[in-house]
Symmetry: C3
Subunit: 426 residues, 3 copies
């Protein structure tokens, strides 16, 4: 049987070659593949639709693009790597000399082997991205440039999935589907999200409702919020933006704007109790869709879970961000961490001891009957749960207070609930 990390990696391999952007058939193909795994709803929003301060742009599709030298040799070819074309490049067809061509080329002098990732969504433009080395080999002369793209009225495509739990209160996961052949940023997010959704679909008896959003970055989150805002504000109690979550770096967490919401507390507690090394980032250095989810007036309690943060690894936004830096084992580690966070949120409730004073534990076989000086039975965590669960603070607070991972408290809480010594405060 193939392990889950490998399955995740296989999905990423299927998705990697597709040329995605904020609109277009690449996004549709991507969502169709995801729908083989989880029953997402795919929605189309027409170009020109007003969403908050923005308008849905024209839809962009591209079938071919290249630069040919005077010998008829393709010196830059979209078919080699879809990063070679500036995202949203308008159609172009013509001969130009090298000087003019240079104005349309993008490269990275400091990373001469890598093709950069460049877009121009909201201003008509065309261009090619090349490695600095490739650029240096271009000789003076006339080049034939062909960009076979369309940029016309169409629609923006996104998907969501709602997995109902016993409570209407929701945990939201959002990730983006607008990057072309870039692996960690951003196919790791959609892949991890899809497998987390699959897990939650198969898991029975979820307490919370889970919502997954697959949409282009920025404009997609804005679309989603503009159409679901009141409901989300009423029901979302925690959530994550998932991005850059497939490399082998230590876990990173960027907290929500308010910084001390449930998701912030849970994630810090889980990382602190399970990882030797991890990184916390302030909202000041935000850079993904938490910018929309946490904006003033929207204020959803959402943080970002990552491995190495965007912008912090050298391959970021270049052709170096490919499948080579993704490890199946690390994809699965990321998934497991999210499952654990979900489990903690599910079980982190406010409990209250049902009786006054300490209960008589020995009559329930929960306490030694003979009192000696050197008792070895560790009844302290149970006594502490009973002493601090006062119906006011949640179990996470109790766990931090008594210095134990909340995960270790769950079986004890279960036993106390079964013995009628603890009750859940709704």
């Amino acid at each position: 049987m193939v392990n889950i990390g490998t399955k995740m990696y296989n999905l990423m391999e299927r998705l990697f070659p597709i040329c995605r952007s904020i609109t277009g058939d690449g996004v549709r193909k991507t969502l169709n593949i995801l729908s083989e795994y989880i029953p997402i709803n795919i929605i189309e929003v027409p170009s020109g639709t007003k969403v908050f301060d923005w308008d849905i742009p024209d839809e962009w599709n591209i079938s071919d693009a290249y630069v040919e030298n005077s010998d008829g040799k393709k010196v830059i070819d979209f078919k080699d790597n879809n990063l070679h074309v500036v995202g949203y490049s308008e159609p172009f067809n013509g001969k130009i000399n090298l000087e003019e061509l240079q104005n349309h080329l993008y490269s990275l002098p400091d990373q001469p082997d890598l093709i950069p990732y460049v877009t121009s969504y909201y201003k008509r433009h065309w261009g090619f991205c090349v490695s600095e080395n490739q650029r240096k080999q271009l000789n003076k002369g006339v080049y034939y440039v062909k960009i076979d793209s369309t940029l016309d009225s169409g629609s923006l495509t996104y998907a969501d999935l709602v997995i109902k739990g016993r409570s209407q209160k929701e945990i939201l996961f959002s990730t983006y589907t607008c990057h072309p052949s870039l692996a960690n940023n951003e196919l790791s997010g959609p892949v991890v999200a899809a497998f987390l959704a699959k897990y939650l679909l198969e898991k029975k008896n979820n307490y919370y409702t889970y919502r997954f959003v697959f949409a282009p970055e920025t404009i997609g989150a804005i679309v989603y919020l503009s159409t679901h805002l009141e409901y989300l504000k009423k029901n979302v109690i925690a959530g994550y933006v998932l991005t850059c979550i497939g490399d082998s770096g230590p876990f990173s967490y960027l907290h929500s704007r308010h910084g001390d919401t449930l998701v912030d507390q849970v994630t810090k507690h889980v990382l602190n109790n399970t990882e030797k090394e991890y990184r916390l980032y302030d909202y000041l250095v935000r850079g993904s869709d938490e910018r929309q989810y946490c904006a003033p007036g929207i204020d959803l309690p959402i943080g970002s879970l990552m491995r190495t943060k965007y912008g912090e690894y050298p391959e970021y936004h270049t052709s170096g961000d490919n499948l080579d830096i993704i490890d199946p084992i690390e994809l699965e580690r990321s998934l497991c961490k999210l499952k654990l966070c979900v489990d903690v949120i599910e079980k982190n409730r406010i409990y209250k001891t049902t009786i006054l004073g300490e209960p008589m534990l020995s009559k329930r076989d929960l306490y030694p009957t003979i009192s000696t000086k050197n008792c070895t039975l560790d009844v302290k965590p149970m006594m502490n749960i009973l002493a601090y669960c006062d119906g006011k603070n949640d179990l996470l607070w109790v766990a931090d207070k008594i210095g134990k991972p909340i995960m270790k408290l769950f079986p004890i809480v279960e036993e106390l609930l079964n013995n009628g010594l603890l009750e859940t405060i709704e």
Copy 2:
């Protein structure tokens, strides 16, 4: 004239030989002796009475117990030390061989000279406690075991005393009376409590009402709370569990569950301003009746004042905890510290300056009339009291704010009250 420390020590000498337990005549004898000092009320609660999650157990009394070897020699004898019998041992009479006897013996390999203190209140059992050295001298063979005890329906005995003050609001002191011949833990608590009560009875014009509880540990506190809970919750503003308060170690304070109540603030302020060395303990390491007084739903603002905390000194719960580790001078030091805490609580009120702007102190002879550069009169504390007593914060807050022991502020407050410059906010 005999000093007070010696009087306290003499009382402890009288109480020490009595075999106490959570019920029985040992407790009654103890309370009768205490009633020679202070007018306590002695209450009997019948076996089987339901108290919160507990039932009052049968009453235990013991007149004799020994183990005799085949030569007719008593090798273990209750009359030598009442710790030799496991507390609440059921009656037994019979011959058994050494192997079987061993299952009923308790000793401390790490402290081979000391007899441990062991009880089995809630499960029928019998046993003997011996020093490890004594145990090693037992030869193979048959032993005659006699435990002349009764364990039948009867009652649990406790006492309280209420000393009325001008206010119905109460300060509660609780200590326990269930330990047999153990000195620091626990005869120091009852003795110090008795002499503090005596002092408060003799002192005139107490502002607060003072309540003293003498009861067996755990079950006694639970009995008391189950019968007085609503009244105590309404009226108790501070309180102490008194335990292990007769040895010569530095003072120790274990704060209430909430950790920042009046008693916590007062005790920390007093210790900080009067002791070079003292110890603060978190509620996490609780272990005496604060477990009941501070339990969720009960939530009384009560901390524990101790010298060396239970479990932290080697003689704890062994025959080494005897009168040798008690010093009359230290008993008196403990009493004095409590008197000081009481005094601070009595006088720590919310005050408010009666006039707007700074008062003209010189016309009341409270300020120098000539203003020179190097004024030597220290009017600063008085000016600070007037500047910070705004009717919102109590004097303790003011004392901490201005960095002075509250005890040094009392005479100044008195003078300001007499001059009509300060009023008390009730």
Copy 3:
């Protein structure tokens, strides 16, 4: 054209020789000179008027005072330095020997060259202040003492000025006018206050109303508060006591009693972002009219802005505190710092982003249209303002949150207001 620092210094030169006290013609002369600069209202309060806990004392005036030796030589002469006479000295005329004279002499053994400043406002007394060196030269013998003063019913004189802004809410500046020939403490305060008032009068379109109080220390602040308290409590949102603000020491700020009011936040932010070295003082070491403005029941949000704090420089309250320690450049620096604080208070409002989610900045030419990895345009502060201005916290909070001086945010806020992306919450 004469620079403003020189103009300020020139005013101080005119005021320096006048013999001021808490009442009398010296104060009137001083206020008349100030009224050449700003249109202050001058108010007289009759002797005996009850003000809070105080009574307005009799008015003191002095025309001459000296001590003559038996040779007819004036060995101490008020005409040399008005500090030579103890403030509020009652009239005296008579011959006394040296021993008796010594009881009326004040000097500073540790600063033998300097004449101390001594007063006795509220107890009838007479005396002379001399340098220790001068005192040592007095030979045994009989001296003729003449104090040609009057101490009779009259009035206390103070002035105020209100500069109306669009809002009724006020910023208050208070300084004192009761010191004789002392420069830093206290002519720097009145001179800086006068020039700040002049600046605010000439500046158009003030948002807040500005109030200036020129009155004798302590009794003057008490008079002012007793007659304006309700209005000030309702309207003053911030204010400064100005004292010791003309020397070349680093800026010092003594915070208001509550310690975290607007003026405290603004001043700390401004000093922190503009000065390499500055000093913060707790209200515990207060010593000027903040004692009245911040007293319990009055509670105005007022701090003290100083250069070197009173009592902290060796010339304090001696003849060494003269024009030599005042520098025109430093007077102007103090004025500029106050203008900056005023500017920050004027512009520190609560703002709210007007749209949900991030606005589309590129369509307003506020954001680069092409997204590349190494963007150089610094849009971060603008994005941060939009991300943190949520209508709840003021701009000062935002500035501290994002780690920028608020002064750098003003032009960005202006641009965002102009673009309709930000609104002011009143």
